[in-house]
């Protein structure tokens, strides 16, 4: 018998190797095109963290014959944590325009490549179809000036999907 193959890629730190961007339109979130992603704006240099998760509720059915309940997966909800974006406070019109507050925009994230590598066909990205529901000024403290963007996720690519030409 062949030995068990261990999944053990070399460890990559996320800092410098993740890019996140906002695109105004993606026709198919499971097949984003290079031109669709490069039209938007990159946020890697103005955010500190990005967290996109999902949760699934389960349905339990209690059959009379069975003391253990049957569990069925329910619907899945995707979420993205509020995005804290560095700003100037006075000349943020370009950023605000890209966010299209209240309308559908697309947030994409590419892991494992130097953040300034140009998007190209074949690279794997996660794509979220979202609405930026509102933006707030960042809490005023001694760190930096910026905005908080609250995000509602409408749908997400099935997994990390390859960019098409």
């Amino acid at each position: 018998m062949a030995p068990l193959v261990q999944w053990n890629p070399s460890t990559q730190i996320s800092r410098g190797n993740v890019s996140v961007g906002i695109a105004p339109a993606v026709v198919d979130i499971d097949a984003p095109a290079v031109a669709e992603l490069t039209t938007g704006t990159g946020l890697d240099c103005s955010i500190q963290t990005f967290n996109g998760t999902s949760s699934t509720d389960s349905e339990s059915i209690d059959w009379l014959c069975d003391p253990a309940s049957e569990q069925l997966p329910g619907s899945t909800t995707h979420t993205i944590d509020d995005l804290v974006i560095k700003g100037t406070g006075q000349a943020d019109a370009t950023l605000i325009a890209d966010l299209n507050v209240g309308d559908v925009v697309y947030i994409w994230r590419r892991d494992g490549l130097a953040h300034d590598t140009a998007p190209a066909a074949g690279q794997f990205v996660w794509v979220w179809k979202v609405i930026i529901t509102s933006i707030d000024p960042l809490e005023a403290n001694n760190v930096f000036v910026g905005i908080t963007a609250h995000i509602t996720v409408l749908s997400r690519s099935a997994q990390a999907v390859a960019i098409v030409a």
Partner: protein, 104 residues
């Protein structure tokens, strides 16, 4: 070109960089990056309007989805009639499409 006809529930625009058509609400219309195509029709909404690329439209009509093809043609004619005041701009819109397709 910068003045858009007021509509209460959004417009279909084309992005100037990649020619993809999608819907935005009037408040988010930005003449620097958006080219207005038409107002949303009754029954359409900004959130449900599915973005589409010009190339895909051509492909779809080629593969026999007649409805989609006819829809795209009427969209184009609407765009022309709506921006009749700026005929030069409309011509530019139509002329720039093949160039963009070639670039891809």
């Amino acid at each position: 070109m910068t003045e858009i006809k007021p509509s209460d529930h959004g417009i279909v625009v084309e992005h100037k960089d990649n020619d993809i058509r999608f819907a935005v609400s009037d408040a988010n219309y930005n003449p620097k990056v958006h080219r207005k195509i038409r107002d949303l029709r009754p029954g359409e909404s900004v959130l449900t309007y599915q973005p589409r690329s010009k190339g895909a439209l051509g492909d779809q009509s080629g593969t026999g989805t007649d409805e989609t093809g006819a829809g795209s043609e009427s969209d184009a004619s609407e765009a022309l009639s709506e921006s009749a005041g700026s005929a030069a701009a409309a011509t530019k819109t139509e002329g720039s499409a093949p160039a963009g397709t070639k670039g891809k």
